[in-house]
Symmetry: C2
Subunit: 131 residues, 2 copies
């Protein structure tokens, strides 16, 4: 059985992917892959996701330049979630211009924004789609 | 708006949760919460999930003793994924007796088991449900 078939894909043919910075251990983002996205990711060693909203393949960084080089792919015990450890040259994973998408922390039952914006989204995308 | 309503829940009323060890940064597991699981988690500071297979609340550790004390809850930019940073006294998160559920690493297109079993599942559960 090949590594694609060992994964338990959703009925929509997707698998959730947790992306973690390989150096710092920070969890950067959460996204989805289909078969083709995973194959491309493995082949080229650069993160490619499936955009559920745009319904198309999405190479992280294709608009923003915030590419993610893949250091390691892990599969969980149930075979239905991937953990991808990456190196991000830009240090920005979030479309808001922050290092991580997980920048809101719960404090006294309020989600508080705690992380600096490293680059403004206007500057990152200048009219093109977020990625 | 309260912190529960700020989350974009799935049509099934769930939110995916990435659980990370607060000290080591290791990603331990991936599971789901419903409103009640999140409320209990916040109230008691101990991880409670929703089991999609058993269709019931599931306090992590209720059978295994592998409780997770919550150190921090984070929400992503889209408001539809939670990152929970925990402390695990036992050091075991996976029902296979490993530290992390993500113990298979892709090497030359083969998922290779790379992590030691710290405690045998028979010993952990002795007939009760995995958790």
């Amino acid at each position: 059985m090949n590594f694609i078939d060992e994964i338990k894909w959703t009925d929509d043919g997707l698998v959730p992917v947790i992306t973690q910075d390989a150096s710092s251990g920070r969890v950067l983002m959460f996204a989805w892959m289909n078969h083709e996205a995973l194959r491309k990711t493995v082949k080229d060693n650069v993160a490619v996701y499936w955009s559920r909203s745009r319904k198309k393949l999405w190479q992280k960084g294709e608009h923003s330049g915030h590419f993610q080089t893949v250091r390691e792919l892990r599969l969980d015990c149930d075979g239905d979630v991937i953990l991808m450890r990456v190196e991000s040259r830009s240090g920005i994973a979030c479309h808001t211009g922050r290092e991580s998408c997980f920048y809101r922390i719960l404090e006294k039952e309020i989600w508080c924004e705690k992380e600096p914006v490293l680059k403004s989204p206007d500057e990152i995308y200048s009219g093109s789609a977020d990625d």
